[in-house]
């Protein structure tokens, strides 16, 4: 894996860095403007959640190349507090920080594949894919 596929999230401006790298990858893969915007927004949500709830973590990008389709995989990993009830945070409007609570359910709708792996007290790993149409 080339090293330019990962952005460490330590401060608020790293969110912008992650977004820019993701948008670059999306452009390379041939995503259209709307999908580029969706991808950038999804990265923004995941990276900001890391920044807000875990403090630090990273966002990794992988190009998925399958026989019949190509896509961009985004993996957001942190060793923060983890999520106790996944179905709760996936509800629109649920927020522990006074936000809109639209981030995670929004990412799920923006992308084609979405999976949360989390352990209470251990951290959170969110994997999501957008396929090139």
């Amino acid at each position: 894996m080339d090293f330019k596929s990962c952005v460490n999230i330590r401060q608020e401006w790293d969110i912008v860095g992650a977004r820019q790298l993701g948008r670059e990858k999306a452009k390379e893969l041939g995503f259209g403007t709307v999908d580029q915007a969706r991808i950038a927004t999804a990265i923004s949500e995941l990276a900001r959640n890391i920044y807000l709830y875990a403090g630090t973590g990273k966002v990794r990008f992988e190009i998925v190349d399958q026989l019949d389709k190509k896509g961009l995989k985004i993996i957001a990993i942190d060793e923060g507090p983890g999520i106790r009830d996944v179905s709760q945070v996936m509800q629109d409007g649920y927020s522990t920080s006074g936000g809109l609570g639209a981030g995670l359910p929004g990412v799920k709708r923006l992308m084609d594949f979405f999976e949360i792996r989390t352990e209470w007290g251990e951290g959170t790993e969110i994997e999501t894919i957008k396929w090139v149409r």
């Binding site: 608020e12 977004r19 580029q36 915007a37 950038a40 923004s44 949500e45 936000g99 809109l100 981030g103």
Partner: protein, 289 residues
């Protein structure tokens, strides 16, 4: 003994300088300073090494050193040119002094090291301070400049004000937007404020949340906020996120938003047939000049 070391160094300064110049020029080949002309590079090297020797003679940091480093900072030379240069200088000098003696006991060896360190280290510290001070200064200036740019408010017409937003919105900027918006609405007595987000690259939940809060606050002080410049792809992602912007008016372009603003402030647009007349007037006034 330290005196002896100084004496060796001073008496052989031309050999040391020659050696140093060779190494520095050699290293340049694959280096950062490639955009600088050979002539300037060589003359800077000579000046640099003279400044170093001056500071040995006077046993301290000289005005020349200060002026020299200040000039390089302003010209934008990399700090590594100076620090690498000084490290090389340290090595060349120590090598030279050692080469002048067949037998060296450890005491004398440590005297040599001490002597050279006490000479080179203050220069390095001075330069690093000079450079980082300059960077901090630049960063803080840019910060101020960025802040001034971050949430401008333009009173275009009596009771109508526009806030064009360009670039990424972070937490700090979101706060500024809110403050400037409310201050401006009161100061300009605006009935309608248009927030133009044409230049905002990504509208995520955080940005949307701040815009909603700002619009709500504007509503509470009795004015109307219209969100304009929503690009098609942004409209799509906002819908995907499930964010409801239905509580206040939104328009795709600033022009449409402005027309709405005119209506809201009791004005209508009249397209008069006086256009030709106006053009004639302009042409006439130009000819007079």
């Amino acid at each position: 003994m330290p005196k002896r070391v100084d004496k060796i160094i001073m008496e052989n300064s031309d050999v040391i300088i020659k050696h140093w110049l060779e190494i520095v020029s050699e290293r340049r080949k694959n280096d950062y300073t490639s955009s600088i002309s050979e002539e300037l590079f060589q003359s800077t090297n000579r000046e640099f090494v003279n400044v170093i020797f001056d500071s040995l003679e006077t046993k301290g940091l000289t005005d020349e050193l200060e002026a020299f480093s200040e000039r390089l900072v302003n010209l934008g030379w990399p700090l590594s040119y100076l620090t690498d240069g000084l490290q090389t200088f340290r090595r060349v000098t120590i090598d030279f002094v050692l080469s002048q003696h067949d037998q060296i006991d450890t005491d004398f060896f440590s005297v040599i090291l001490d002597r050279v360190d006490s000479w080179v280290d203050p220069i390095i510290n001075k330069l690093v301070n000079e450079y980082s001070g300059n960077w901090e200064h630049t960063v803080s200036l840019q910060r101020v400049a960025l802040q001034e740019l971050s949430a401008p408010l333009i009173p275009v017409m009596r009771n109508i004000t526009i806030m064009p937003l360009i670039g990424t919105i972070d937490t700090e900027r979101a706060k500024l937007i809110m403050e400037n918006l409310l201050d401006g609405v009161i100061k300009h007595n605006a009935e309608v404020v248009l927030i133009d987000i044409t230049g905002v690259p990504v509208v995520d939940t955080m940005v949307a949340h701040h815009i909603i809060q700002a619009a709500e606050a504007v509503r509470l002080i009795g004015s109307t906020c219209i969100l304009v410049g929503i690009r098609p792809e942004i409209a799509q992602t906002i819908v995907n996120l499930g964010i409801d912007l239905g509580k206040f008016p939104t328009k795709s372009s600033l022009r449409k938003g402005f027309e709405t603003a005119l209506e809201l402030t009791g004005r209508t647009i009249h397209r008069e047939k006086k256009k030709e007349k106006i053009v004639e007037n302009i042409m006439a006034s130009l000819e007079k000049e």
